[in-house]
Amino acid sequence: MTDASDVAPALEKLRPQLLKFALLQLRNAAWAEDAVSETLLAALEKPQAFARQSQLKTWLIGILKHKLVDQIRRNCRELSTTSADDEQDFEDELFQADGHWRDAPQDWGDPEHSLRQVEFMQVLEACVDQLPGQQGRLFMMREWLELETEEICKTLQISPTNLWVMLHRARLRLRECLALNWFAGGSKA
C-alpha cells in the first residue's frame, strides 16, 4: 500500500462493502453515499496512514463508524421517524392471550456449528437488512456501532421506553427470520 497508484483501486474495491454497511445503518441511499465519501476523503487526507495499514478495510470501517454517527446526529429528526412496519407488534403472533407460547421455540442445536459457517453470517446479514427502517437503524446502532442505550436515546432524542420497544421488536423479528431461513428443517443446524 506504499505506492500511491495502488490507493485508488484499493479504495474502489472496498467502497461497495463500506456502502453496504452504511445502508444497513442509515437506510437512506443518499446519506449512506455521503458517509462513504466522507470516509474515503478522510482516509485520503492521511496518506502516511496507508503505508502503515496492513488491514485497510478494518481501518476504513473504523472511520466509517464515526462518519455514520455524524450522519445520524445531522439527520436525527428524519432518522427518528417510524413506519407502519416498525409499529406492528409481533408479540400477539407468538403468544396466546394467557401469555403462553403459541408454538414453543425450537431447539437450535449446537450454536458453534452455525456460528462457524460463513453462510450463517450471510443469512444474519440478510435478516438485519429485512428489519423495518427504524428497528434496523436502532439495532445497528446498538449491535454494530456498539453505542450505549443512553447515547442512542440522546442522539435520536427518543425515550428509553421507545428504544426498548423497538429493540425488542427487532430482536423478535430477527429470531423469526433466522428460524425460518436457517434453522427450519434442521438441514444445517
Binding site: 478494518t58 470501517i61 403468544f95 407460547w101 450454536p111 456460528l115 429493540l167 425488542h168
Partner: protein, 67 residues
Amino acid sequence: MILKRTCKQVSRLILQAEDQALPLKERLAVRLHLWACTACTRFTAQVSLMRKATARWRHYSEDASGD
C-alpha cells in the same frame, strides 16, 4: 404469586437483559420460570446464540479478509 411470570413476560425480560441489567427480583423470577419451562429455556438459548452471532458478524464485517 409475587414471582410468577408468564412466558410472554419472561421473553420480554430476557430480551431486556440484552440492553440493561435486570433488577434482582426480576432475575430471580426469570430463573424460577426457566427452572420449569423448556420453551423459555430454548428461547434464552436462541437469544444467546443471536448475541454471539451478532458479535461474530460485527467482527467479520471489520475483518480484512471478510467480504
